[in-house]
Symmetry: C2
Subunit: 213 residues, 2 copies
């Protein structure tokens, strides 16, 4: 449930500046300085939602630093709660619309990008809005290190099929594909809220990992 | 049902030399001469089984010449019956083990290859036997024209996931992916016998088309 008005949300996000980056554009080129261990790999989740994935990943991988971007204020407060509860120090949240990642990150600043259950924009006329459209891939390639990777998870068949072709046509290499992730029982898979909901209905979850070259 | 002994099979295959190529290795480099319209594109199905796909395709695409290879004699007789029934003149069948296609075809002789419901060889130790292992891709690339394509259909999740990665790592481009072909209701899809059987059980059918570059 996305509540439109959470008047306390602004205050809550400001209070926790140890997690929520207050001036993210000023951080461009020096994100790693925000973390206790700046030399760790830096992983970025685009669209963190209520934060179950990033909070779970930050606990599972304490040798990686994580940044989660979520544009909806009433949603990112949920992510903040989960990160606070996880009680880790390797995660930062950003409440911004990630229209162009190149405004937030310098070239080669990120090691890995996660796209979890992104809006599928199923109509052909909205193709340009899909986060795996080539204009977005150009952004990702620039902010990622050489041979940087993207991991995509979705329950949306159309977005998955589209993204595999888009990655390939952009010149990326597929490193891993699963067309029924939960049948594989990957013990390291951290579920998002959406994933938990849809997979419990028997809906297959799709995942792929692709690398720029 | 694969009958081991069909003593009449040899005779039946020999009788129909208008469809069954009797000395396929002698045809290397001049396959197109077998057809009424030699300049049409030449499509090859590896593992034609009982022939429902190639017979259906030959009727649907009378502007393409088709070759179907099937190593099991007791199975290819079924394909021969279907091709005879289809009453088309653009299909030839080959009863050989297609171990190395380069013994049967010259470089650039083929326009398109179909791999339909190939043996998945699920054990890791049998990876080399999968028809999308890189040694096979090398063969396909050689006998196909420049930018030649492969279309793969399977109900086997593991083989599909493996093949997408294998194609990509080999440098091929994905042109089309479907992780539930029958949900797409492609009116041009010609079903194989296997496909009909498995999709009627609600099993998703996977398809992809990939291009050499």
């Amino acid at each position: 449930m996305r509540l439109r008005n959470k008047p306390w949300a602004d205050d809550f996000l400001k209070e926790h500046d140890e997690v929520v980056v207050q001036e993210p554009f000023a951080q461009k080129g020096k994100w790693k300085e925000l973390f206790e261990e700046p030399e760790r790999p830096l992983h970025l989740e685009i669209g963190s939602g209520k934060g179950q994935f990033i909070a779970g990943m930050s606990k599972q991988h304490d040798d990686i630093n994580f940044i989660g971007i979520e544009r909806v204020k009433s949603v990112i407060v949920g992510a903040l709660k989960k990160v606070l509860k996880a009680d880790t120090t390797n995660t930062r949240l950003v409440n911004e619309d990630a229209e162009d990642l190149r405004e937030l990150f310098d070239p080669n600043e990120i090691d890995h990008i996660y796209l979890n259950f992104s809006d599928p924009w199923p109509k052909n006329k909205h193709e340009k809005r899909r986060l795996t459209y080539h204009t977005f891939l150009e952004q990702y390639k620039e902010v990622l290190k050489a041979e940087g990777e993207i991991t995509l998870k979705t329950d949306n068949r159309g977005l998955f099929e589209y993204s595999l072709v888009s990655f390939s046509q952009f010149g990326m290499l597929l490193e891993e594909v699963s067309v029924d992730l939960h049948a594989d029982e990957d013990p390291l898979n951290v579920e998002t809220e959406y994933e938990e909901k849809f997979s419990s209905k028997g809906q297959p979850i799709y995942r792929c990992r692709a690398r720029f070259q």
